[in-house]
Subunit: 371 residues, 2 copies
């Protein structure tokens, strides 16, 4: 009997309500995972991330292995201790960052040779090495190492890459072996090609994973193309396992993906936007740099139970952000994470009460305003 | 009967224990005021500043009047509401920043014409205007507008500047008029010349102020010169009024100044150092960027009752600071303010228990280590 499990609690017009139980705590799904790239959710204390309702964080194997390096995290007693976090942590495998960040990447059957984007130092990452690093970080949910092709309509290229990812998925599983309290997720590739996506998913199911992630999206495709990918796989995704859409997305993306059976999300959008002055609210997006906010004494969104959302005027936030004050990044990031978790909480409640479709329509209408 | 008052509670070998009572709360002295230059103590939430034991903040008239501008703070209901702070706030008058930051300054009998260091916009600041702005900000402790000469041994220049400051001090007092719940402090100038310092102080006493600040220091002089200035005025400073040493300083400076009868301090050192990776601890200074800390799993100083001091390893902090993560600035600033307030608390306790000298010697020995 493993100490980590998933229960599907309700389904409502395609949307799924669930609960992941881990030794570090419960994760209610659909769940949003704030991104803690370099062992920190940028500009936030872990306690704030947690108090906003986050039940799991994401860490980046690529970033952590190049800085501070796996060894320093091992010496600290693992990633949770290193960053003083008692929430479960999911780590991605590094495949996406090797493609998007590093220089002079060389892909072989064995793995990937790449140069760090920080100092050019050479690294060699294989499926076995990626899993080994993730286990050393003490990640609770480990991802297989995959090849992430750039956005492309060249089907032969995508097939070749997908097949490599499938062989790497098998090697990842072999390396992961049996873990009582950890999970290993497979990653569905196949670009924008429905047949490839389905083929990839079926082959991953044959190997057998604890959850299934949809990868290779959030790389520049349109929302419609992303939803098409979800539509073509949703009926094949194992019902008793979590479905994770990697790197997505806007509040509207999340609503549309939940409708298509997705249980887990991660995205840098709320944190990165917080640092550049964009706030998500239930009345739409607020670009706080806009000079009109210098006369606005109202808070960002007093319907959200977070000090950053309720206690500071847009006048003040506009001043902080325009003055490049760190507190501006701190408050907007905090608010955005609180907003995202408020969205997830309301999504879960609406599924529980079998009124997700109504909530979905009402929310979309509220969220699309550009203030 | 005014609603703001000072009580001297004890004296011990020159050091003074006191209590300032204001409508916004009590300030135990000797007190350290964290600097909230642009309506924010950089990289900290006001609640953290308060939880560290801070009972008053400092705001900068110069910075606030050029950005966001007095009008926006008036519209927010004053500086406390604008920055969501219920602590008392002392504002300096702008004299120091006009000298140190602005470009193309022209000093006349009437006031100072200067160009903003941000965008070159022209401002005209007079004693009356400075007091008017401070009252509009709703500052609790207002400072007279003074001329701050650069560090100089040219006595005639210093005499001329001091006399101008004295005329401006009188005009500041006239403008301030009667305020029930606010204080106006005079500023002692006179450079490194003992006779001038004493003359200036006596003339300020003749005008009559609620407290006396020592200005024109922290401009490049040696600690010995600063202490000499304090020594030459300490017996002339009115016993029943607070004594404020502006812009000072290191923990060692503060200890030496308390010994010379100073009750109030402000300095950017703990906050600025926090953002550059320097931590103050009871075992001395810690330059967290030093690579040796990458192997150090101990916290900065677990004798200090602050999460930033106790819960994060030097290994982690070294990683954050070397990665330019905002959380690094947040944690080190938080720790440094907690350390400074711990120092002030222990100073007060030692005066209360008539053992300041012993504490002073013990502390100096502990603080001088460079780690």
């Amino acid at each position: 009997m493993r100490s980590i499990s998933f229960n599907l609690l309700n389904e409502n017009n395609g949307a799924r309500l669930g609960k992941i139980i881990t030794p570090r705590g419960v994760i209610d799904t659909p769940a949003f995972m704030p991104v803690g790239t370099a062992a920190t959710v940028k500009a936030m204390y872990v306690d704030q991330v947690k108090d906003c309702g986050s039940q799991i964080l994401l860490g980046n194997t690529y970033h952590l292995m190049i800085r501070p390096g796996t060894q320093r995290i091992i010496e600290a007693g693992g990633l949770h201790q290193f960053m003083n976090c008692n929430l479960p942590i999911l780590t991605d495998s590094g495949g996406f960052q090797v493609m998007s960040l590093s220089k002079l990447t060389k892909i072989t059957e064995d793995g990937v040779i790449f140069n760090s984007h920080l100092d050019g130092k050479k690294f060699f990452l294989t499926p076995e090495e990626s899993i080994d690093v993730q286990l050393k970080l003490n990640s609770d949910i480990v991802l297989v190492f995959d090849d992430c092709p750039k956005y492309s309509f060249d089907k032969n290229k995508i097939i070749e890459s997908m097949n490599l990812s499938l062989r790497w998925a098998k090697r990842s599983k072999d390396k992961f072996a049996n873990q009582n309290s950890k999970w290993l997720f497979g990653i569905v590739q196949g670009g924008v090609f429905s047949d490839l996506r389905r083929e990839c998913l079926n082959k991953l199911i044959d190997i057998g994973f604890d959850g299934y992630a949809i990868g290779g999206l959030a790389v520049g495709e349109k929302q419609r193309e992303m939803f098409d990918v979800l539509d073509c796989v949703k009926d094949l995704m194992p019902k008793d396992k979590p479905h994770y859409l990697m790197g997505v997305g806007t509040p509207e993306d999340i609503l549309g993906a939940v409708k298509r059976g997705i249980d887990m999300f991660d995205c840098v959008l709320p944190t990165r936007s917080g640092r550049t002055g964009l706030a998500f609210t239930w009345k739409g997006r607020v670009n706080i740099r806009n000079s009109k906010y210098s006369k606005d004494q109202t808070p960002l969104d007093d319907s959200i139970d977070c000090p950053a959302s309720r206690l500071y005027s847009k006048n003040y936030l506009n001043h902080l952000v325009n003055s490049n004050e760190i507190l501006g990044s701190m408050l907007l990031t905090w608010h955005n994470i609180a907003f995202y978790q408020d969205l997830m909480k309301k999504i879960r409640k609406s599924i529980e009460e079998n009124r997700f479709d109504e909530f979905y329509k009402k929310s979309l209408a509220m969220l699309v305003n550009e203030n």
